[in-house]
């Protein structure tokens, strides 16, 4: 029996099956999500495991707290609220599977997430295709630049943090020569690129640019190279544990120039890892980290105080920026649902109309051209003094 003949008939059968299958299933898209009686379902794809877990877990905590609070008040328009939270394990491929499942199987009205830029970018095509609003908790500038009608964000962008840093360097430290040491990952590289591009407009020259890997033990080689270029300040752009090693290395080498970090070290972890070497380090962070810098009595200050108290009571831990990102994302969507109801298209329009919404991270205003919501005013420069955060002057 000729193998070619059997192969040929196999291929013919295959093609027949394919055509048949197409005929049966058609090329139509999935059905539209319909509101399930009595409950508003909102999806969330967060990195609650693997490397971005320090970001995803507080975000998840915040959403669960919000769900409890809203339902205790009777829900929205009489309907209960449910956040269906998926873990993308800090992996873009898993994020796409998760968001698809939320939209097609759970039929959610909107999606929050993800915690990291890579996973968020992977979800954008799905959100766009299925016309579902995605409010992300990641800071990568690329996500909302250029503006995508369905993609919004709650955290201050990396650009805003960088602008604060440059302003501080120019106005407070009055330096003209800085060096930058950044993590090789997307966050670090993106920040360094922008710093180098924008510095000249602040009258600052970047005299040395070095990178390190998150897995590196020791950054003295890079630091000694930087020392040679004689900068007046060092900008370190990365997430833990790199920046804390750098702080300790600088101390060992006896480097006295100011250390300006990124918002990636706006957490207690940096202080506990770097120990006494953390003192003197300055970084940009949300005003919520030092509530006294928020205009007293304003809706924003009230929001921060209330959230702080509730979070502490529920989880026995202080709030941080990430919890705020998640809480605000949830709140903005719920606020939009109040007016728009269970209609994803209307929800999108309503979210875009958000104006002067007092969240925890700041006061949000979205427009057709700006899906970031916050401005640099919602950030301050923070200095670590004796293991505590104070406003940097």
């Amino acid at each position: 029996m000729s193998r070619i003949r059997t192969t040929g008939s196999a291929i013919a059968l295959l093609l027949a099956l394919v055509v048949l299958a197409f005929a049966f299933t058609g090329c139509g898209s999935g059905s539209k999500p319909a509101p399930t009686g009595g409950t508003y379902k909102i999806g969330a794809v967060l990195s609650t495991s693997n490397q971005s877990a320090p970001l995803g877990q507080p975000e998840q905590n915040a959403l669960l707290l919000l769900e409890k609070q809203i339902n205790a008040k009777g829900g929205i328009n009489g309907n209960k609220v449910k956040f269906i939270i998926e873990d993308d394990a800090s992996d873009p491929a898993s994020a796409t599977v998760a968001i698809n499942k939320l939209i097609t199987q759970d039929k959610v009205l909107a999606v929050i997430g993800s915690s990291s830029t890579g996973a968020t970018l992977a979800m954008v095509p799905t959100a766009e295709k299925d016309k579902v609003t995605l409010v992300c908790c990641a800071a990568g500038t690329k996500i909302t630049d250029p503006v995508n009608p369905y993609i919004f964000r709650t955290p201050p962008t990396d650009s805003m943090a960088l602008t604060k840093v440059l302003e501080y360097l120019k106005n407070n430290l009055k330096v003209t020569k800085v060096a930058v040491l950044h993590d090789a990952n997307a966050f670090g590289t993106g920040g360094a690129d922008e710093l180098v591009a924008k510095a000249p407009s602040y009258g600052i020259t970047v005299v040395s640019r070095q990178q390190y890997n998150s897995t590196d033990t020791d950054m003295t080689a890079q630091l000694t190279k930087i020392q040679q270029a004689n900068p007046q300040a060092l900008v370190v752009w990365g997430t833990n544990p790199g920046p804390s090693s750098i702080a300790k290395n600088m101390q060992t080498l006896g480097m006295k120039i100011p250390y300006i970090g990124s918002h990636g070290i706006a957490n207690q972890s940096f202080i506990s890892l770097a120990g006494p070497a953390a003192n003197g380090v300055v970084f940009p962070g949300g005003r919520l980290l030092i509530p006294s810098t928020i205009p007293a009595g304003s809706p924003w200050a009230t929001a921060v105080a209330d959230f702080s108290k509730a979070y502490q009571a529920e989880y026995n831990a202080p709030i941080n920026s990430f919890a705020a990102h998640g809480y605000d994302a949830g709140n903005i969507i719920l606020d939009a649902i109040k007016t728009a109801g269970a209609d994803p298209a209307a929800i999108r329009d309503q979210v875009e109309k958000t104006k002067d919404f007092a969240g925890v991270d700041g006061v949000y205003t979205y427009t057709t051209k700006d899906h970031n919501g916050l401005t640099t005013n919602d950030l301050i420069m923070i200095k670590i003094d004796n293991g505590k955060w104070v406003e940097a002057k």
């Binding site: 490397q51 897995t215 033990t217 003295t220 080689a221 101390q251 060992t252």
Partner: protein, 326 residues
């Protein structure tokens, strides 16, 4: 013999190369070069400790354990639990961490390696990969995803700040001395064990020829168990000491394991002196490349060396030739 003279040539060439690198670095860069070299020696000592773990298991059982880095990681994590969370004295925490990981290594050996009948090396490699994955996930579950702080052993001023140690114009953190010291101690102890004690020599014999060794009373099964326990303990000791310099976190073992492995291959699997040579050379080269050229490609160095060694002389600088190619 031809093999011997080829090894002499390669050794000589490597030695010349390393000396040249050191000389050029010092001449061109002066005290900064010295900083790079000394930092490189510290990092190299860490690689040496990891490489020795690989060597011990290989020289006793011909197995390659790709979970060696994870032993170091667990050691670091346990050190955090005992000395930072429970605030136990440093030496107590150290001993406990090493002991627990040794038990872990022994249990794994008995459960997953011992039952295999005549396994081929690929099977063992894949099994150890599975073990490393499970250890990482368990560490994430127990200690979370954040890096954990560590207590420096000595060298702290009243304020808690580290007092740098100055050597030849370069500054090192005091913990570095502990790391280099531990590596040196480990090298000496392991060398004495495998070359001067009956048990050690018997273990090496068992690796070469199981049946002959058991005829003279050296049981391969015992050899395997001891080797794994030692390697686990050594890995944990390394992890416990490097904490203040490299914060322990669930995935810190991956890169350490891979680089330590590259160092072991460079020096020659199964040779203690090889682990030292490989570790130090890799550490210094990495530091010089990061300082002198690009910090981004520095990691590629370890893997490039790995591949080159495997292609040119798979038994490394100081290892004994084996049938490695077909």
């Amino acid at each position: 013999m031809q093999g011997d003279s080829r090894q002499k040539v390669i050794l000589a060439a490597t030695a010349v190369f390393v000396v040249a690198v050191l000389a050029v670095t010092l001449i061109l860069k002066g005290s900064i070069g010295m900083q790079w070299i000394l930092s490189g020696i510290v990092v190299g000592s860490i690689y040496t400790l990891v490489a020795m773990g690989f060597s011990i298991i290989y020289s006793s059982t011909r197995a390659i354990n790709l979970a060696q880095g994870e032993f170091t990681m667990v050691g670091g994590m346990l050190m955090y639990t005992f000395t930072v969370q429970a605030k136990l004295p440093l030496w107590v925490g150290f001993l406990l961490a090493v002991l627990i990981v040794m038990i872990l290594g022994a249990v794994f050996e008995r459960a997953a390696i011992h039952p295999l009948k005549n396994p081929n090396m690929i099977t063992i490699i894949i099994i150890t990969i599975g073990f490393s994955i499970a250890l990482r996930a368990a560490a994430k579950w127990i200690w979370g995803s954040n890096p954990v702080p560590a207590r420096a052993f000595t060298g702290l001023a009243k304020s808690g700040k580290e007092i740098p140690v100055k050597i030849f114009g370069a500054s090192l953190s005091p913990q570095s001395l502990w790391i280099v010291g531990l590596a040196a101690l480990a090298v000496i102890l392991v060398f004495i064990f495998f070359n001067k004690t009956m048990l050690g020599k018997g273990m090496r014999a068992a690796a070469e020829n199981r049946d002959a060794a058991s005829l003279v009373g050296v049981s391969y099964s015992t050899t395997s168990l001891i080797a794994w326990t030692m390697a686990a303990g050594l890995g944990a000791a390394a992890g416990a000491v490097i904490g203040p310099i490299q914060a322990a976190v669930f995935d810190v073992g991956t890169m350490l394991g891979l680089k330590g492995f590259a160092a072991a291959i460079l020096g020659g699997l199964g040779s203690t002196q090889g682990a030292v040579a490989g570790g130090l050379i890799l550490g210094i080269l990495e530091s010089v490349v990061a300082g002198g050229f690009s910090s981004g490609y520095k990691d590629a160095l370890a893997f490039l060396i790995l591949i080159l060694v495997l292609l040119i002389r798979p038994e490394g600088l100081l290892g004994k030739p084996e049938a490695v190619k077909v």
